[in-house]
């Protein structure tokens, strides 16, 4: 396969060459950034102006709707919020079928992801009885998650997966809350689930969104575990959890996970010195001890980050 004929063949050739010469992804990225394609450089200004223009149009539309809101009837309120969202979604799908406009799909799906749930909430507010806002949110997020994820199954676009998974988590979180899962267990379960799914995403062409989900999942997981062990005899175990997460970050090749777990470890050391050493030897000495530990951990984190880079 010396002359690749399509994108997949080109990617296969690049990965073969990278393996043969032991080139890492970061090195490829750094080289591309050092020598940006001239075509891309000339395109950045129109793109930024395009995004800015779209933001103004969107903002203007939102302001106009806000000004007219009290004068609108119930059907008009639903149509004016849900309608543009649905149209943006359909336009997004149409752009996916034409290579020339494919880059317009992400802003269109973003607009749809904001307006469609808003329109559904407006519909429920105008027409549904009862005041269970959480049930309304479960219905809305569940339906939008299905819509985005089913579309993703057909079009395999990363933005569709991102929004679909965002709404999926919102619906599942509410479902867990309504099922009686306590806040801490909900955080641990959902955080772990998001991290596992992010790990699976990291091994697909949609790896661009994996760091975001690693970030959310790991913060949620570590936060919830800390809530469980805080001010208990088990609080020492958090040290093992945070350290374990740092090792896991090397295994999972995720710098995001490393940053979050390092932050958690530093925060825990602050809690630990405050809890056990503040009144024993004196706060200033405790601070000095903590400072020494921070320097040690930051050195260790940098070393682990290098490991991720070279792995």
């Amino acid at each position: 396969m010396i002359n690749p004929q399509n994108k997949n063949e080109a990617l296969a050739l690049i990965s073969d060459i990278a393996r043969s010469f032991d080139i890492t992804l970061d090195e490829i990225g750094a080289y591309l950034n050092k020598n940006p394609a001239p075509e891309k450089v000339s395109k950045w200004l129109p793109r930024i102006l395009g995004y800015l223009g779209a933001t103004f149009v969107f903002g203007g539309l939102a302001l106009f709707i806000g000004m007219q809101w009290d004068d609108l009837s119930s059907p008009a309120r639903v149509i004016i919020t849900y309608g543009p969202g649905l149209i943006a979604f359909i336009l997004g799908i149409i752009t996916l079928n034409d290579e020339r406009f494919i880059r317009a799909s992400t802003p269109l799906f973003l607009k749809s992801a904001i307006l469609q749930p808003t329109g559904m909430f407006v519909y429920l507010h105008e027409y549904a009885d009862g005041n269970d806002g959480q049930l309304a949110a479960l219905l809305v997020f569940g339906l939008v998650a299905i819509q985005f994820l089913v579309t993703f199954c057909f079009y395999r676009r990363t933005s569709l997966l991102f929004f679909g998974y965002l709404f999926w988590n919102s619906a599942v979180g509410i479902l867990m809350d309504r099922a009686g899962v306590s806040g801490e267990i909900l955080g641990i379960g959902l955080g772990l689930s998001i991290m596992i799914v992010a790990w699976a995403m990291d091994r697909t062409p949609h790896r661009a969104i994996a760091p975001f989900w690693y970030f959310i999942g790991s913060i949620g997981l570590l936060w919830s575990i800390f809530d469980v062990v805080e001010h208990t005899a088990l609080d020492m175990s958090y040290l093992a959890v945070a350290t374990g997460m740092m090792f896991l970050s090397v295994r999972m090749q995720s710098r995001t996970l490393l940053i979050v777990s390092t932050g958690a470890l530093l925060g825990y050391l602050g809690y630990f010195t405050d809890e056990y050493f503040k009144d024993v030897i004196g706060w200033p000495i405790a601070l000095m001890v903590m400072g020494g530990m921070l320097i040690g951990i930051s050195y260790w984190a940098v070393k682990m980050s290098r490991k991720i880079k070279t792995a």
Binding site: G173, I174, M176, G187
Partner: protein
């Protein structure tokens, strides 16, 4: 399909984990609710009342409920609280009309008719305690991001050990216990 699950076992486990947790907790809650005896003592409670010495408030004197008003030093908007009674025999919450009270005087009070004798002990004679829903569960980043806000914030509940009895037709985060109807 079998191959899909085999090849994507990690992904499937990640997606199934929160659903399994929801199922397990749902079943555990149903079992604990099914095993408990429902409350039998009526409870009087209020919403929109923030336990302040000034403005509108409630006192229980000699087992009788009294609605009182203490004029604040400065002019401020004083909203009347709302008073409710939950009668387990009828499985319904009923609003009680508050007596008229002269809020131009420095202080005034009037007995609330139709409530009966109250006891203000924490536990009812049948062993229940009255709680606002939010005291039941903790919140964190994940519940705030993905939990849709805790629904328990808007519930008034009667709890006996692990058994929770949610009061029907009340959705207010400010519900506050007044007393148990003992006669």
């Amino acid at each position: 399909m079998k191959n899909f699950f085999k090849e994507n076992a990690v992904l499937v486990a990640g997606i199934a984990l929160p659903l399994m947790l929801a199922l397990v907790f749902f079943m555990a809650t149903r079992v604990s609710e099914g095993s408990g005896e429902p409350p039998t003592t009526a409870v009087v409670f209020t919403t929109g009342y923030y336990d302040s010495n000034v403005g509108y408030g409630f006192d229980v004197k000699d087992n009788k409920l009294v609605f009182r008003f203490n004029k604040p030093d400065y002019n401020s908007h004083m909203q009347k609280p709302r008073l409710y009674i939950y009668e387990p025999s009828k499985k319904a919450v009923r609003e009680i009309e508050l007596p008229d009270i002269d809020n131009t005087k420095k202080s005034a009070s009037a007995p609330v008719p139709g409530v009966g004798k109250l006891n203000t002990l924490e536990k009812s004679p049948d062993g229940f305690v009255f709680e606002q829903g939010s005291s039941g569960g903790g919140s964190n980043l994940m519940t705030e991001l993905f939990g849709g806000g805790s629904r328990y914030r808007n519930q008034c509940i009667m709890r006996k050990d692990v058994y929770r009895h949610v009061l029907p037709d009340v959705s207010d985060y400010s519900c506050r216990f007044i007393g148990w109807v003992v006669e």
